[in-house]
């Protein structure tokens, strides 16, 4: 019987000195112990282990039993007595065994687990692992780091519960497990804190390992987790986890440097940033998550200094915002951006901030999302944030931003939107008495040169650019109505010849050409000679990667008609503008004569 075999080997070893144990004895002990467990004699095994006489044997050999023990524990049901016995054996082993070997035994179990069992195994072994680590004499920091890294690596393969239901159900036990891991880490945090209080503190190693753990936790699971308060869940597990992680960072005094100081040495020119150390690149996600936790969710904000200027905080967050925009992890990050921006007053952001790369890159990234992102709500959100961003800058900043976006967006819709913004700014400077240098006079003229022109003269594709052209015409109409030639505050009257030359004239020619072309096309279609021309005008259309069916002649005609309608619309506004200009010039001439 298994128990007898065990007793036999135990008795043989009891009389031996510790130093005289042989490899053979180890094997016999393992085989016998394993058999006891498999045959269900856990209670008896527990007795053997608890026997004071056997202490030396267990101390040396006990670690062997971890693997069969874990297997058994998962075999028994929750309420089974034998399971209880096994758990007590585990507990005893943690107390008695040589920490060094037991540590390896435990770690090995964690390393080998996979899939559904990951969280169960980790939670089962955390307590003994902690006990053992606290007893370790040498290489403690290294071992703590190794344990945490191994555990986090195992967890990373699991999906993060997202919906309320998933969180409550916590099917794989991830929520529970994360918080258990934090508890596991706490004694080591306390140790670091205690050491830091002593004046001579040279053990940076443990602190670094804990820092690594926090950075990892921020990236996974926190970056992927849903962190809004959920109704009906009192203690949101990930909110709790986030609080604990930030607490650790705070306690080991790494929070502040991570959120603010890392930025201090950074120069605005990108050459330095591009080659910035790889470590920083790797931690970009974690840092962005940390900023989100602090500034949007207000975790740990109570210990954050309240003397920083809002513009500086925006500057600090801009790096994270850019990183995360690029990764399309939009939702949270747009929140971060929004909340950073909301701390600023309108028109208070100095244009000089545009000299920081991030400040000029982020709006361009937003434009990319606005024009290329397949999801409508994200496009809309990008647009609203871009507007918020524009609003915060002083007039020179707005001016520079408009110039930049006009030149870089390559999208008529965005350009139209910017032009509308320019119109609003001109309106403000004409109606209000404040710093209006940038949207009147020669600065404005140079901006108008950019706005009131056709990129390719008369040959410009008017249909493609209709948004932009309509916005430009509206702006011009506004200018000639609002600004009398005698005042000429905006300078538009001085530059009228140029506008005529670069914009109105080619637009007229272009309109005539396009209209003639489309009318001819319609005529062709109607005469059912589509084969010869269809390839010229109608190309295949793909929508979200799928090719649309070829258009019927009827549909093609419809499209052509709507194009003509657009041209008519442009033409009517153009005619109105020309009329206004004529009337005003005439009025002035009459006055003068």
């Amino acid at each position: 019987m298994a128990v007898d075999e065990l007793q036999a080997i135990i008795q043989r070893c009891q009389i031996l000195e510790e130093a005289d144990f042989k490899g053979e004895d180890f094997n016999l002990f393992l085989v016998a112990g394993q058999k006891c467990l498999e045959d269900g004699y856990a209670a008896q095994l527990l007795e053997v282990i608890q026997n004071e006489k056997n202490k030396v044997i267990i101390k040396n050999m006990g670690w062997n039993l971890i693997s069969p023990l874990v297997r058994c524990i998962f075999m028994y049901k929750q309420e089974d007595d034998k399971r209880e016995h096994c758990l007590r054996i585990l507990d005893q082993l943690a107390q008695i065994c040589n920490p060094k070997e037991l540590f390896l035994g435990l770690l090995e179990q964690i390393e080998q687990t996979s899939g559904d069992q990951v969280c169960q195994t980790v939670m089962l072994l955390l307590q003994p692992l902690q006990t053992v680590l606290l007893k370790l004499q040498n290489k403690k920091a290294y071992s703590v780091g190794l344990s945490l890294a191994m555990i986090m690596n195992q967890l990373t393969s699991l999906p993060v519960p997202y919906t309320k239901q998933q969180i409550q159900e916590d099917k794989l036990g991830l929520c529970q497990c994360c918080n258990a891991v934090v508890d596991f880490a706490k004694p080591f945090v306390n140790e670091v804190v205690k050491n830091m209080e002593k004046s001579e503190y040279d053990d940076m190693e443990l602190k670094e390992e804990l820092l690594k753990f926090c950075m990892k936790s921020l990236k996974y699971p926190l970056l992927a987790a849903q962190l809004e308060q959920l109704e009906g869940i009192e203690e949101h597990p990930f909110r709790h986890f986030a609080t604990e992680i930030i607490d650790i960072l705070w306690n080991i005094r790494e929070l502040m440097p991570l959120v603010v100081l890392h930025h201090k040495g950074k120069s605005p020119c990108w050459e330095n940033q591009e080659f910035a150390d790889i470590e920083r690149k790797n931690s970009a996600d974690s840092l962005a998550c940390l900023s989100y936790l602090m500034f949007v969710q207000h975790f740990g904000i109570e210990c954050f200094p309240v003397v920083f200027s809002p513009a500086y905080l925006l500057l600090c967050n801009m790096t994270h915002i850019e990183v995360l925009l690029k990764r399309y992890s939009l939702w949270d990050l747009q929140d971060l951006f929004e909340s950073s921006l909301l701390r600023m007053e309108d028109n208070s952001l100095l244009h000089d901030y545009l000299e920081f790369r991030d400040f000029i890159n982020v709006p361009q990234d937003l434009v990319k999302i606005m024009t290329l992102c397949p999801m409508e709500h994200l496009r809309k959100k990008s647009l609203s944030i871009l507007q918020l961003f524009i609003d915060k800058f002083d007039t020179e900043g707005k001016y520079t931003l408009f110039r930049c976006l006009l030149k870089t967006s390559n999208h008529a819709g965005v350009e139209g939107y910017i032009i509308k913004n320019i119109k609003d700014q001109i309106h403000l400077s004409l109606t209000k008495e404040y710093d209006n240098m940038w949207f009147t006079g020669h600065h404005l003229i140079s901006l108008l040169d950019l706005v009131l022109s056709l990129p390719e003269g008369a040959e410009t594709d008017l249909l493609q650019n209709s948004d932009r052209i309509m916005a430009s015409l509206n702006l011009l109409r506004y200018l000639v109505i609002k600004d009398c030639e005698s005042d000429n505050q905006t300078g538009v009257w001085t530059t009228l010849t140029k506008i005529e030359q670069n914009f109105l004239k080619p637009l007229r020619v272009g309109l005539n050409m396009s209209k003639a072309h489309y009318e001819a096309e319609i005529k062709n279609k109607k005469e059912n000679r589509k084969e010869a021309h269809s390839s010229n005008t109608v190309c295949s259309v793909t929508v979200s990667g799928e090719k649309m069916p070829a258009m019927t002649t009827g549909m093609q005609l419809q499209v052509l008609h709507s194009a003509l309608f657009t041209f008519d619309l442009i033409e009517s506004v153009l005619a109105r503008v020309e009329e206004l200009i004529e009337v005003k010039i005439k009025a002035v001439m009459d006055e003068n004569s």
Binding site: E18, A19, N60, K100, C303, V307, S309, Y312, N410
Partner: protein, 449 residues
């Protein structure tokens, strides 16, 4: 003291005193920041703009509620003075303090968080009260590497700085070991100071200066004349330099987004020439700046015509290859590899790209990878003799390296064994058997690093 005063909180008394007796320290004299010195400083020196300052402080709202204190955090608060990092009241207030001084500041919302407030602690339109102690300050370390320390004597106007390629007019005086070796007014392009015997550190520092700024710059040899020294000025190798610089005026170079493709391509040809000139003279840092411009202009450019795209790719390829060469010379091998990777991204069989990456990797002791690169060079051009000999170098090095490792580890294991034997004299042999068993199971033991 009247009973009335006694019942008031300490904060209120201080705030009241400030309103009555505080000195208005705002430049606009609008009573936005009022100051009373509680304890005068121990030294007469005040921090200069841009200095890194260390303070302890306590902040209260008008109702006496404490909202923040560095003492609660148990560590001094550090920031750069006069840079807009902190609320306006602080940039103004701390600049007036002497080392060791403690003062009270009463700050109106316009000089603090204004109507927006600062969620969650500062409400809208709050007047803030601070007690600040200036513990210490030091010059600004421009690149966080101790290479250039700046102390600003007179702040410049506005906030904009010359960028790389900007044309600057400066007055400079250079000192080495207490004696002046250079004094001149000069106009040049940032990044090309070398043409006027101006070390690279000045170019770098200028990018952080403002119009009219007058500052002292302490340059380490790396940012000075380096190992070569400057015989013209009688400056030895590896000399520390001090410069006093006034930025009189500058005209910025166009930002990348302000240039159209045609302009970028034209300029690329110009800077490529310039970069090559520096390279030939052995001025690698300066050459990196020139080639770097090509990358910044053209790497992200899109919407090019076929012809433009061809021209752009050829400039980029040349730029990356030359940058790789510069970084090899500067012994920054990781950067060299990065540039080669980018060059090879444009032209995967580029002989120079492969060869230089091989060289860089060889110098980084990545022999196997280096060998692969040189082998690829031979695939592209079987005549490349240099690559052939490099392969044998790789093989030789790999062997040497292995041998050395073996020797080191052999020694190490004997040493470990000896040490363990001593330690284990009292302990059991079995313990080690257990450890060995654990090793065999494929686990890294902490002891076997």
């Amino acid at each position: 003291m009247t009973t009335d005063e006694a019942t008031k909180s300490e904060g209120e008394v201080q705030a009241l005193a400030l309103t009555e007796r505080g000195e208005d320290i705002t430049p606009a004299q609008d009573r936005g920041v009022l100051k009373i010195i509680k304890r005068p400083g121990s030294e007469d020196e005040s921090p200069m703009i841009g200095d890194k300052v260390y303070v302890h402080y306590k902040g209260k709202l008008a109702n006496g509620k404490k909202f923040d204190s560095s003492r609660d955090r148990n560590e001094p608060f550090v920031f750069s003075l006069g840079k807009g990092q902190v609320i306006k009241a602080w940039d103004i207030g701390v600049a007036t303090m002497k080392k060791g001084e403690i003062c009270y500041l009463l700050c109106k919302p316009d000089y603090a968080y204004g109507s927006a407030g600062s969620a969650p602690k500062i409400p809208s339109n709050a007047t803030l009260f601070f007690e600040v102690e200036l513990l210490d300050f030091k010059g600004e370390d421009l690149f966080e590497d101790g290479g250039i320390i700046r102390r600003i004597k007179r702040k410049g106007e506005g906030y904009s700085n010359p960028n790389e390629g900007a044309t600057v007019e400066i007055h400079l005086e250079g000192f080495c070991g207490g004696s002046r070796f250079d004094c001149k007014d000069v106009k040049f392009i940032v990044g090309e100071g070398e043409d006027h015997d101006i070390p690279i550190g000045i170019d770098k520092a200028l990018e952080k200066m403002q119009r009219g700024e007058h500052c002292i710059l302490y340059l380490s040899p790396r940012y000075g004349f380096g190992e070569a020294g400057k015989p013209k000025y009688g400056i030895q190798a590896n000399a520390e330099l001090v410069y006093e610089v006034t930025l009189k005026s500058f005209e910025k170079a166009k930002e990348s987004w302000e240039m159209d493709t045609k302009e970028k391509l034209e300029q690329a040809a110009v800077v490529k020439e310039k970069g090559t000139m520096y390279f030939k003279e052995g001025k690698y840092l300066q050459a990196v700046i020139q080639y770097g411009k090509i990358v910044s202009w053209l790497e992200m450019e899109y919407g090019l015509s076929e012809k433009e795209s061809k021209a752009s790719d050829s400039f980029l390829l040349a730029a990356f290859l030359n940058l790789a060469m510069c970084y090899l010379k500067l012994r920054e091998y990781a950067k060299a590899v990065e540039c080669c990777d980018k060059a090879l991204g444009l032209d995967q069989d580029n002989e120079k790209g492969l060869y230089r990456r091989g060289e860089a990797r060889l110098l980084m002791n990545e022999f196997e990878l280096a060998k692969c690169d040189f082998q690829k060079v031979l695939e592209v051009n079987p005549q490349n003799k240099a690559a052939k000999s490099q392969i044998s170098v790789c093989q030789k090095k790999t062997k040497e390296h292995n041998d050395r490792d073996r020797r080191i580890y052999a020694n190490m294991f004997t040493k470990f064994a000896e040490r363990d034997a001593k330690e284990a004299a009292s302990k059991s042999r079995v313990g080690r058997a257990a450890e060995k068993a654990a090793c065999e199971k494929g686990l890294k033991t902490p002891g076997a690093e």
